[in-house]
C-alpha cells in the first residue's frame, strides 16, 4: 500500500513538473492580459512614448459603449455575420463531406482541394478576393458579364448589404474546407454495420442518412458549430484588407471596431471595453450552443 502511495505521489509530482512550464507561459501570455483587459476597460488610458497614463472611470466606458450608435451598428453587423456564417459553413461543409464520402469522391485530389484554402493566410485570401471582386477589373465581373448574367460591372463592395454579404462569402469560402474535413472524418467513423442494419430494415439512402448518419455525427456537427461561432467572432483580416469597415461602417464588425478605437484613435480603455464585450458574447454563445447541442451532461471537449 505504501509503495503504491509513493508511486502515485511520484506520478503526481512529475505531472506537476510537466504541466508547470506550460501553465506559467500561459499565465503570462494569456492570464495576465485577460485580467488586465478587464481592468483597462474600467479606466481611461492613454499611452504616449511607452508611458501609460491611467485613471479609473468605473463603468463609464461601458455606458458610452451602449449609447454609441457605431457600436450598436457593429453589434448588429457581427450578429448577422456570425449567424449567417455558421449556418452557411455548416450546411456547405456537410454537403461537401457527404459528396466526398461517396465512392466517386474518394480521390485524394479532393482532399487536397480542401486543405489548400485552409493553409492560405487570411490576409492573402482577402487580397485575392479584393482582386476578384474589383469593380473595374475583377474576374467575377468579367465572367458574369461574359456569361450574360449582368450587363454592367457591379461594385460588389460598394453598397452596405452587398459588401457585408461578400465579406461573408470570402470568409465562408475559406472556412468551409476545414470544417468539411472535420465532418468527413466524422462521417468515416460511422460504422458500416449501422448502415447494414438500416438496410436490413429496408431503409433507402435518404432514410439511412436521416436516421443513421445524422444522429451519429451529431457531436461532430455540434463541435463544428461551436468552433465556427468562435472563429466567426474573431474575423479581422478580411475587414482590414477588403473594406476597412466601409462603406459607411457597414462592414464594421466588433473586432474591427475595437481595433480602430484602440489603434487609430488611441483610446485604449474604450477599446478594451469593446473587446471584453466580444469575449463575454463568445462565452455566452458557446455555452448556449453546448447546452443546445449536448442536452446530456457532457462538456465540450
Amino acid at each position: 500500500m505504501t509503495a503504491n502511495a509513493t508511486f502515485e505521489q511520484r506520478r503526481r509530482r512529475v505531472g506537476l513538473l510537466f504541466v508547470l512550464p506550460a501553465l506559467l507561459v500561459l499565465a503570462v501570455v494569456l492570464g495576465y492580459p485577460i485580467v488586465d483587459s478587464v481592468a483597462l476597460a474600467l479606466q481611461q488610458v492613454s499611452l504616449r512614448s511607452g508611458v501609460v497614463q491611467q485613471s479609473w472611470v468605473g463603468l463609464d466606458n461601458f455606458r458610452r459603449l451602449f449609447a454609441d450608435t457605431t457600436f450598436q451598428r457593429a453589434a448588429l453587423n457581427t450578429a448577422y455575420f456570425s449567424s449567417a456564417e455558421v449556418v452557411l459553413v455548416t450546411v456547405i461543409s456537410l454537403s461537401i463531406a457527404i459528396l466526398l464520402n461517396h465512392p466517386i469522391g474518394r480521390f485524394g485530389i479532393f482532399r487536397i482541394l480542401l486543405i489548400v484554402p485552409w493553409a492560405i493566410a487570411p490576409v492573402a485570401n482577402a487580397v485575392l478576393w479584393k482582386w476578384i471582386l474589383h469593380s473595374n477589373y475583377g474576374v467575377l465581373n468579367g465572367v458574369l458579364k461574359a456569361l450574360g448574367v449582368i450587363d454592367v460591372y457591379h461594385v460588389w463592395l460598394g453598397t452596405p448589404a452587398s459588401a457585408l454579404n461578400f465579406l461573408l462569402l470570402v470568409d465562408v469560402w475559406k472556412s468551409v474546407p476545414f470544417v468539411a474535413l472535420l465532418m468527413l472524418a466524422g462521417l468515416q467513423r460511422v460504422p458500416n454495420s449501422l448502415y447494414r442494419a438500416a438496410y436490413m430494415d429496408g431503409a433507402g439512402p435518404w432514410q439511412s442518412f436521416l436516421h443513421v448518419t445524422l444522429p451519429t455525427i451529431r457531436s461532430v456537427i455540434a463541435i463544428a458549430v461551436v468552433l465556427q461561432t468562435i472563429w466567426s467572432l474573431r474575423v479581422f483580416d478580411i475587414v482590414f484588407v477588403l473594406t476597412r469597415g466601409g462603406p459607411a461602417d457597414a462592414t464594421v464588425l466588433l473586432n474591427f471596431l475595437a481595433y480602430r478605437v484602440t489603434f487609430n484613435f488611441l483610446d485604449l480603455g474604450y477599446g478594451s471595453a469593446i473587446a471584453n464585450v466580444v469575449f463575454v458574447l463568445t462565452v455566452i454563445l458557446a455555452i448556449v450552443y453546448v447546452r443546445l447541442l449536448w442536452p446530456r451532461e457532457r462538456r465540450a471537449g
Binding site: S46, R48, G246, A248, R260, F263
Partner: protein
C-alpha cells in the same frame, strides 16, 4: 635636482603616453562616429510625395549631401493610407525609431512627439515659402513642420469629352458642375468620379465635403473649438455631393485611394474629378493615361461663397526621440533646396513650395497646372486640422457616406455628424492627455 629616470617613472610615463594616445584615438573615433550620423526617415511610397532617394529625383545631389554631411539616410516607406496607423501606434508604444517623419494633417494630433525645429530654419528659406503654408503645422505658436509641396485640390477634366458635349470651358460654379456632370453621363461614361471609400484623413470623404463646406461659406469649428457646421453651408455642401451621385462613377463609393479614381478618368471613362497637382504627371504619361493631351486643370467651381479648396499639408517633421535633430533639420533643408524642389516637380510632378521655384519659367512650362494651383491658393483652403482630425474625419466621413448611399438625408447626416464631433471634442477637453 636631476630627474632620475627610475623604472617606475618609465612605467608611469609609458602608461601616461599610452593613455593619452588611446584617449585621443577614442576622441577621434567619437568624432567620426558623430560624423557618420544615421538618419531614419518615415515617408510614403511613391507616387505619393517621397523624398530624393525614395522617389527618383536629385539622386546625385542627395549622394553629395550625404557625403558632405557624413550622414547615412535610411528610408522606411509605407503605402500612404497606412502611414497614420503605423505612426500613431509607434509613437504610443515609444518604439518610433525615426528622425524625420512625413505628416499630412497629423501635426496637432502627434505634436507631443515632435520638435518645433521649423522655428530655426534659415530666414532666406522661410521668406521663400508662402506664409500660410505654416498654418497647419503650427501649434501654440511654434512651428513643428515644413510643408514641402504646394498641394491644393483643383479640378481636373477631360477637355475632349467636354467639347464633345458642347462645353468649351470648365464649370464655373455648382450649378454648372451639376449640369455638366449630367450631360456627360451616358453610355458607360460618367461626368464625375472621386474616391469616397475612405472616410478619414486628408483626401478622404470628409475632407472633400470640407472643400464644399468652405465653398458654401461654412467652417468646421467655432471659437471654442466646438463644431458649427450644422447650418445651411454644411447641408448644402453635402447636398451637392448627393446631387452629383447619379452622375458619379458608381465605383467611387468603394475607391479607397485617389488613384483608383484617377485611373477611371485617365482611362477616359469619366470626365471630371478633384485631385492634387501631382496628377498632372500621370495624366501626361502615355503609359498611365489614355487621354494624354486632353487633360486640363482649373480652379474648383465656386459655391455660394466662391471657390475654395483644402491643403494637402504634406510636411516634414523631426521627432523628439531623434538623436541627431540638427542633422535631421539640415536634411529637411536639403529637401527644400531650390534645385531639389525644381527637380521634384520636373521629375515627379509634386509642385514645389518655394515661391521662387514656382515662378521659374521651366517649371511653369512643365507643370502648367501650377498656375492653376496658385490661382486656387487665392481662395480659402483650410483643412481644419485639429488634434482630433482622424477621429473627426472618420465620424463625419461615415455620415457623408451614408448620405451618399441614400441611407439618410443630407440634413440628418450633417446633424448626426455634428453631434458626434461635439462629443469627440468634449471628450478631449475633459482629458487633454488623450
Amino acid at each position: 635636482m636631476p630627474i632620475s629616470v627610475s623604472r617606475r617613472t618609465l612605467l608611469h610615463g609609458t602608461a601616461a603616453a599610452g593613455a593619452f594616445a588611446s584617449l585621443s584615438r577614442f576622441l577621434r573615433n567619437e568624432a567620426r562616429a558623430a560624423d557618420a550620423a544615421k538618419l531614419s526617415v518615415f515617408a510614403p511610397l511613391p507616387p505619393d510625395p517621397a523624398p530624393p532617394g525614395a522617389a527618383k529625383f536629385s539622386e546625385e545631389a542627395f549622394a553629395r549631401w550625404k557625403a558632405a554631411n557624413g550622414a547615412e539616410v535610411e528610408y522606411e516607406l509605407l503605402a500612404w493610407p497606412q502611414l497614420h496607423d503605423r505612426m500613431a501606434t509607434a509613437f504610443a508604444s515609444g518604439s518610433a525609431p525615426w528622425d524625420i517623419v512625413y505628416m499630412s494633417g497629423w501635426v496637432p494630433e502627434l505634436q507631443s512627439n515632435i520638435i518645433p525645429y521649423a522655428d530655426a530654419l534659415p530666414k532666406a528659406l522661410v521668406d521663400d515659402l508662402p506664409k500660410s503654408s505654416f498654418s497647419t503645422v503650427t501649434v501654440d505658436g511654434k512651428r513643428y513642420g515644413a510643408i514641402f509641396t504646394l498641394s491644393l485640390l483643383t479640378l481636373f477634366y477631360n477637355k475632349a469629352l467636354l467639347a464633345k458635349a458642347g462645353f468649351k470651358s470648365p464649370p464655373k460654379d455648382w450649378n454648372e458642375l451639376k449640369r455638366f456632370a449630367k450631360e456627360l453621363t451616358h453610355d458607360g461614361q460618367y461626368g464625375f468620379v472621386l474616391n469616397y471609400g475612405d472616410p478619414a484623413g486628408i483626401g478622404g470623404t470628409a475632407s472633400y465635403w470640407m472643400t464644399y463646406l468652405q465653398q458654401a461659406g461654412g467652417k468646421m469649428y467655432g471659437e471654442d473649438g466646438l463644431p458649427v457646421f450644422k447650418g445651411d453651408a454644411g447641408v448644402d455642401a453635402l447636398q451637392l455631393m448627393v446631387d452629383l451621385m447619379p452622375f458619379t462613377d458608381p465605383g467611387s463609393i468603394s475607391y479607397a485611394g485617389i488613384n483608383d479614381a484617377s485611373n477611371v478618368l485617365l482611362a477616359g471613362r469619366a470626365a471630371m474629378m478633384m485631385n492634387w497637382p501631382f496628377m498632372w504627371t500621370a495624366a501626361t504619361d502615355p503609359k498611365q493615361s489614355k487621354i494624354v493631351g486632353d487633360v486640363a486643370s482649373a480652379v474648383l467651381p465656386a459655391g455660394p461663397a466662391g471657390s475654395a479648396s483644402i491643403d494637402g499639408t504634406d510636411a516634414w517633421t523631426v521627432t523628439k526621440s531623434s538623436k541627431n535633430p540638427d542633422k535631421a533639420s539640415a536634411l529637411i533643408e536639403f529637401y527644400l533646396d531650390a534645385e531639389v524642389q525644381k527637380r521634384q516637380v520636373l521629375d515627379t510632378g509634386w509642385l514645389p513650395i518655394r515661391l521662387s521655384v514656382l515662378a521659374d519659367p521651366e517649371v511653369q512650362a512643365k507643370a502648367p497646372n501650377a498656375a492653376v494651383v496658385l490661382e486656387q491658393a487665392k481662395h480659402p483652403y483650410d483643412s481644419f486640422v485639429t488634434p482630433d482630425y482622424t477621429e473627426v474625419t472618420v465620424a463625419v466621413g461615415t455620415e457623408v457616406q451614408k448620405a451618399l448611399q441614400g441611407q439618410k438625408t443630407a440634413a440628418q447626416a450633417i446633424a448626426d455628424a455634428q453631434d458626434q464631433v461635439t462629443s469627440i471634442v468634449k471628450r478631449r477637453k475633459k482629458a487633454p492627455n488623450q
